[in-house]
Amino acid sequence: MSNRRDVWITGIGLVSSLGEGLEAHWQALAGGTGPVVDENSFVPYVVHPLAKVDFDQQIPKRGDQRQMEPWQRIGTYAAGLALDSAGLKGNKEILGATDMVVAAGGGERDQSVDGAILTEIEKQANPDVFLNEQLQSNLRPTLFLAQLSNLLAGNISIVHGVTGSSRTFMGEESSGTDAVRIGWSRIAAGTSEIALVGGAYNAERRDMLLLFALKRLAMHAPWAPVLADPKGIATGSAGAFLVLESPEHATARGARPIAKLSGVWSERARRSEAGAVEATLEEMLKTAEAGITDDTAIFSAATGAPEPTKAEAAVLARSGLPVRSVTDRVGHGLEAQMPVALALAALSVSEGRLFAPLAGEPLEKPFDGTISRAIVTAVGHWRGEGVALVERAD
């Protein structure tokens, strides 16, 4: 990578159960605020609900908001925060040349229509014809657009004017890692100057919980720290976008880096082989570490799914580096989890210190030293291992 150039993070937009914006997150983290959990709305499951957000602030047209399901609103909102943070809001020329890579799932359904159909369908002489009739009369035509994965990116183009390019990656946790990796790779290689990368997830839905419930992977209340006791995935509503930029481009417009994104790695361990996740992650961690352990911390985006989280925790314990669990603070945001973790890692690096350990998470040790490097680890709940390195920019 000798001829590759630096990649700066010049903007971060973050919204989660802890609030919105970097300042609110740092206050909550440094102030030792515990995780915000909801154990009552989705019994028996526990989720981290989105903090109260005034969507009008980033999505001024109500007509636009109506065209989106909540996951798209969260993402479009976070993307707007990122562009504000980078000082790009309304800069048509730059936004028109900004590349976008979004990690997205989708599939938020009309649960009342589904429920009504399921209540009656088995009583019908011809269930499939009944289904046709019901869907045709009861589905909102625009709901489809609010479900399509690439329409988060589409909404960001419409609401914020980002139109340089637009790609949407799917594939759960890995899509978040790869969205950041491709945006980073293009800038590092000199084929892109500025990119908006990130994702969003809405945890507060039964149809989203259903996918995890099929394999009994959704965490049941009471909430528990994921590294110490991975008993399931506590999903969290969150959106995170980063503005990545070449130093030349940023300097020319007078923008300063929050931190430097120094590398992103994406791998796929053969999980049918015992020890494969640990071995893969260990190697990736060594690559990111590059022999430097001073002033370095690890931010874990572990999902809470038992097997991969145990493997990740074992590798983190062996690393000897100070560890902080992102998931314990804001929950698991699936496609958005790597961007969320990167946002918090970059925040910590820019502050130059770590926030306090969480009670009940023995892997988190007190650390009062300086932090200039943060390695994010993100092992998918089913597949895919991701690692990223954020460094202080000066």
């Binding site: 989708g106 589409g154 183009s157 790869d178 099929l214």
Partner: protein
């Protein structure tokens, strides 16, 4: 010695293997014969009851073992067949050991009605069914396999296992431009020097009743139900919507240097890729066609060629009133008066709109067009639209020397990606 780099000093990216499946059949040979004979793969839907539906025709792939199972099952089978053909043709790597990453465009995936119905029946609530009931049944009844099947990443993951591609595969969607994006990501990775080869696949086996109804509710589909083969009418005055269809396309991409070193046959070159997003509307393109114009010009610039160098355009040509008019406007701006003399055809007149897969399938057909010196027609062109005068290669295939093709793909969400394809390295 010929150069391994293009005018911009980047590695030249070539195609050394191609595969495809559509409603016309499996494999390039069968598809090419039917495409050049002007055969339509559009037919009456038999997969689900068509009672009460406004559109009753589609280009579904009904001849495979997974046809009629879940969308991810069929999409995976289509992708696998297309990729097997492509990888075998290229002779790259060894069995189960592809020396590069996988970029895989996949359709939307979610639990489907048969699974929901089973969960609802297992839960058997006394009152109305809710998602709480489905959740209870999901936890209790051992449907573990559905978890993996309905993850967005599972199609690409299974393909990565089968073909032994490197690293974590990227699953992607840019709606109806997805096929072109899967190629674009491979081209970029090779140009960056990240890899010497990449496997680009785009697949769509997602024609269910609900998928059809969703597009129907947006008034995007043709309702020319009477004669299915005659329903898809790109650029014709009586076009009234697209025909939803299934299929897959796969391409083995390699650096010219890598392909040459192993003595591979070069099937074509991906000379340029252009992209520009549209912020106008969720489903409609900007009426001034500026993003599409920008996209085409960027593709030409990326290839280092001018509009005069294009011999044939493989149109997006969906057969919707709006797309075909907008595409005409865009092409008019880019090609000017010369447009009237450029043959332009839409494969969708025969195979319908294969959505996620369209770009990759049309890239394969574009390279076959160059190799065979024959342009597949736009069938069902009985009533020319005087507002958009074009040489659409109407109804009958045409022999022509084609050196360089522009292949367009546009999608919901403001997605636009254009490819410039040639037969041989410049």
């Amino acid at each position: 010695m010929a150069s391994y780099t293009d005018k911009a000093g980047r590695p030249i990216v070539v195609v050394t293997g191609m595969g495809m499946v559509t409603s016309l059949g499996q494999g390039k040979a069968d598809n090419w014969a039917k495409l050049t004979a002007g055969t339509s793969g559009i037919h009456r839907i038999t997969r689900f009851p068509i009672d009460t539906l406004r559109t009753t025709i589609a280009g579904t792939v009904d001849f495979l073992p997974e046809s009629g199972r879940t969308a991810p099952d069929l999409s995976e089978e289509l992708a696998q067949l297309a990729a097997e053909e492509a990888v075998a043709e290229s002779g790259i790597g060894s069995k189960g050991n592809f020396p590069g990453p996988l970029f895989c465009a996949v359709p939307p995936i979610e639990l489907e009605w048969p699974q929901r119905r089973i969960l609802a029946q297992e839960a058997a609530p006394n009152g109305p069914v809710s998602y709480d009931d489905l959740l209870r049944a999901a936890e209790a009844n051992g449907h573990d396999a559905w978890h993996e099947r309905f993850l967005y990443g599972s199609i690409a993951d299974h393909l990565a296992d089968r073909f032994g591609t490197r690293g974590q595969p990227i699953s992607l969607s840019t709606a109806c431009a997805s096929g072109n994006t899967s190629i674009q990501l491979g081209v970029e990775a090779i140009r960056r020097g990240d890899c010497d080869a990449a496997l680009s696949i785009a697949t769509d086996g997602s024609v269910t009743a609900e998928a059809l109804i969703r597009f129907s509710l947006l008034s995007a589909l043709s309702t020319n139900n009477e004669v299915p083969e005659a329903a898809s009418r790109p650029f014709a005055k009586n076009r009234d919507g697209f025909i939803i269809a299934e299929g897959a396309g796969a391409l083995v991409l390699e650096s010219l240097e890598h392909a040459t070193a192993r003595g591979a046959k070069i099937l074509g070159v991906v000379e340029g890729v252009g992209e520009m997003a549209d912020s106008f509307h969720r489903t409609r393109s900007s009426p001034d066609a500026k993003p599409v114009i920008g996209c085409m010009r960027q593709a030409l610039a990326d290839a280092g060629v001018s509009p005069d160098d294009i011999d044939y355009i493989n149109a997006h040509g969906t057969s919707t009133p709006e797309n075909d008019r907008m595409e005409f406007t865009g092409m008019s701006a880019v090609f000017g008066e010369r447009l009237a003399g450029i043959p332009i055809s839409s494969n969708k007149s025969m195979i319908g709109h294969t959505l996620t897969a369209a770009g990759a399938i049309e890239a394969v057909i574009s390279l076959l067009t160059i190799a065979k010196g024959r342009i597949p027609p736009t069938i069902n062109y009985e009533l020319p639209d005087p507002a958009i005068p074009l040489d659409v290669v109407p109804n009958v295939a045409r022999d022509a020397q084609v050196k360089r093709v522009m292949s367009n793909s546009f999608g919901f969400g403001g997605q636009n990606v254009c490819l410039i394809l040639t037969g041989e390295p410049a």
